[in-house]
């Protein structure tokens, strides 16, 4: 009787010490996640209902920040620009890599070279690519206008004209990022069983029909996943407008640029910036949730 109780007590003690040890191993990680992930999430929401500017201690203002946002014409411009950027970036950065991958997958030579080539820009620090392209876009003696002049085409103002500014941002962003999507597509293409193509060919399917009825259906899942990831990534566009057109240019102000402006350039209005962030979070969170749902259920 007493021995059994002692044994149970011993087991309990061991379990307790094992758990303590486990939490000791996790302590630093838990602290980091608590401080820089979980707490800021809560703080962000609270902040969006407060006035906080480093000058006076934060105080509650109810919905004032959101009202101020909706009253700011830049708010609508920022969302419009961000959606425009996202849409354009999908046309280039989502569709193009698919066809590049299909093309590269057919080559029997230089396949390693092509992979390194398309991924090289992804490895560069993003600000380097953007600042480099700033020279290319220079309306005076920039590389692009020199080339256009050389072949006798009309020159462009690139980032300096409101007609072409956004497209210029999309171009550099696509150049810098399409390698990732291309390589993911390539890997997925290599997982398509060759027999499917054999069978389709025996049935007399042309190349286009094989692409349409074999490749597409086999790639549907990965294309959906990449679509979501691409939307999430491009809606957070910041570096391109920041470094190419500035944070106060209404032609290219995006949601994140506006957050940055509110919080760090104009007058440290953290509450207003937090309200904008909450809205961005709600939109992106929806896409993230779908993404995680999809990939988890496939696990």
């Amino acid at each position: 009787m007493t021995r059994a109780r002692e044994a149970r007590a011993g087991l309990l003690r061991r379990k307790l010490s094992d758990n303590l040890l486990a939490y000791a191993f996790m302590a630093a990680g838990l602290a980091c996640f608590a401080l820089f992930s979980w707490y800021p999430l809560v703080k962000g929401v609270i902040l969006s209902f407060q006035q906080d500017n480093f000058v006076v201690p934060p105080y509650w203002v109810g919905l004032d920040n959101y009202r101020a946002l909706f009253a700011d014409p830049l708010f609508y411009t920022a969302w419009k620009n961000t959606l425009f950027f996202t849409a354009l970036a999908l046309v280039f950065g989502y569709v193009l890599p698919f066809f590049i991958a299909v093309l590269l997958n057919e080559f029997r030579h230089f396949s390693g070279y092509f992979r390194v080539l398309v991924y090289l820009p992804v490895m560069l620090p993003p600000i380097v690519s953007v600042l480099l392209w700033r020279y290319f876009y220079d309306p005076g003696n920039g590389l692009f206008n020199s080339i256009l002049r050389g072949v006798g085409l009309p020159e462009s103002q690139w980032t300096q004209s409101s007609d072409t500014a956004m497209i210029s941002l999309v171009l550099i962003s696509t150049w810098a990022n399409l390698g990732g999507a291309t390589l993911i597509y390539l890997a997925a293409l290599q997982n398509i069983p060759g027999e499917l193509y054999e069978a389709a060919e025996l049935d007399g399917a042309s190349i286009w029909q094989r692409l349409r009825h074999v490749t597409f259906p086999q790639m549907r899942f990965i294309m959906l996943v990449l679509l979501l990831l691409q939307i999430i990534a491009t809606m957070q566009v910041f570096i391109e407008p920041y470094a190419l057109t500035g944070t106060s240019n209404p032609d290219t102000v995006t949601v994140l640029v506006l957050v940055y402006r509110y919080a760090f350039t104009v007058n440290n209005d953290f509450g207003l910036a937090a309200a904008m962030s909450v809205l961005l979070f709600v939109v992106l969170g929806a896409f993230s949730a779908i993404y995680l749902r999809l990939t988890r259920s496939a696990d």
Binding site: C32, K43, L124, V237, I239, V259
Partner: protein, 322 residues
């Protein structure tokens, strides 16, 4: 803006998986290709067409992806007058490799480069220590509420980091409870970088494949939990530790928005942030600036060329299960 596709770490090469399978997979991918959209027979029949398309693609891709880099590296050695010419020269007529030295000294690239190296390596060590600890505890010690902890960490993958920019900045400026200001210190980069659910998840999944029998055997020989981690788990996990290390260092080197807001003191800035500031504020000659850009890219290009197999394989292997 980066594609946030969580890079996938190849989980082959795990303990218990014979190395041969890894090698076989590799040759299967690059060796005699399996059947694709167009059959080998068709490719043979239209040999000329194939080589024309291949040649054109080679030309266009090299121009599009490599030429900008060539232009950057070669632009730096031109004389400022040649650089500013309205018809650019393909091959530099003037050759001033000294521009790189000037940029290194005059633009204080040396300082920012050292800063960035320090941030990247410090962040690497801290992230590994923190994330390995969490992953090991969750995988092998299985504490109560472990599932909830993992869930809470994975949930943070849903948070776009930029949406937390402002509250995270205010947190770093005044840590709750202890009221320490980390702005303009390396910790402002290191600690948030360690809170990386993706790394924890990848490490945990790898640790999960290590047979518990190995650890039990060590325990019978008197090895404590820390000893088991150090002498058994970590040596077996070298491949995954390598890949996670690359991702941590590359991410820290490329990061822009976060260092931009938490390191506003010019003395502490990273190379990326300093370049962005110099591009707008100072009278740096464009050739020196090109040299600065080239210097900032060099470490990443070197890392890529050395570890391209891990990096490309990590992106591509299998699906995108985060």
């Amino acid at each position: 803006m980066t594609l946030t596709a969580p890079p996938k770490v190849p989980v082959d090469g795990a303990p218990g998986v014979p190395v041969a399978s890894k090698r076989r997979r590799r040759t299967a991918a690059s060796g005699p290709a399996s059947r694709t959209l167009i059959s080998v027979v068709d490719l043979r029949r239209h040999r000329t067409l194939y080589f024309v398309v291949l040649g054109l693609t080679l030309l266009v891709f090299t121009l599009v992806f490599l030429f900008p880099l060539y232009w950057m590296v070669s632009g730096a050695v031109k004389s400022p007058a040649e650089f500013a010419r309205s018809t650019p020269t393909l091959i530099p007529e003037s050759f001033h490799p000294g521009t790189y030295v000037t940029a290194w000294n005059n633009m204080q690239i040396a300082k920012y480069f050292t800063n960035t190296v320090f941030y990247a390596f410090g962040g690497w060590i801290i992230s590994l220590l923190v994330d390995v600890g969490v992953a090991y505890a969750l995988s092998k010690l299985k504490p109560i509420f472990g599932k909830i902890v993992l869930g809470g960490m994975l949930a943070s993958l849903m948070l776009p980091p930029t949406a937390l920019l402002v509250p995270a900045y205010l947190t770093v400026a005044d840590l709750p409870l202890v009221h320490i200001n980390l702005l303009n210190t390396p910790w402002a980069l290191w600690l948030p970088a360690a809170a990386n659910a993706f790394n924890v998840y990848v490490l945990k999944r790898f640790f999960d494949q290590i047979p518990n029998d190995l650890l039990d055997a060590a325990a019978i020989d008197g090895a404590g939990k820390l000893r088991q981690l150090w002498s058994i788990v970590l040596p077996l996990s070298r491949p995954v530790l390598g890949v996670v290390s690359i991702f941590i260092i590359v991410a820290l080197w490329k990061d822009f928005l976060w260092p931009l807001v938490v390191l506003q003191d010019p003395d502490n800035q990273t190379l990326s942030v300093a370049l962005a500031r110099l591009a707008n504020t100072s009278q740096v000659p464009p050739t020196e600036f090109m040299a600065g850009l080239a210097i900032a890219s060099l470490p990443m290009i070197v890392v890529f060329l050395i570890f391209q197999r891990s990096i490309i394989g990590g992106l591509g292997s299998g699906s995108l299960k985060g």
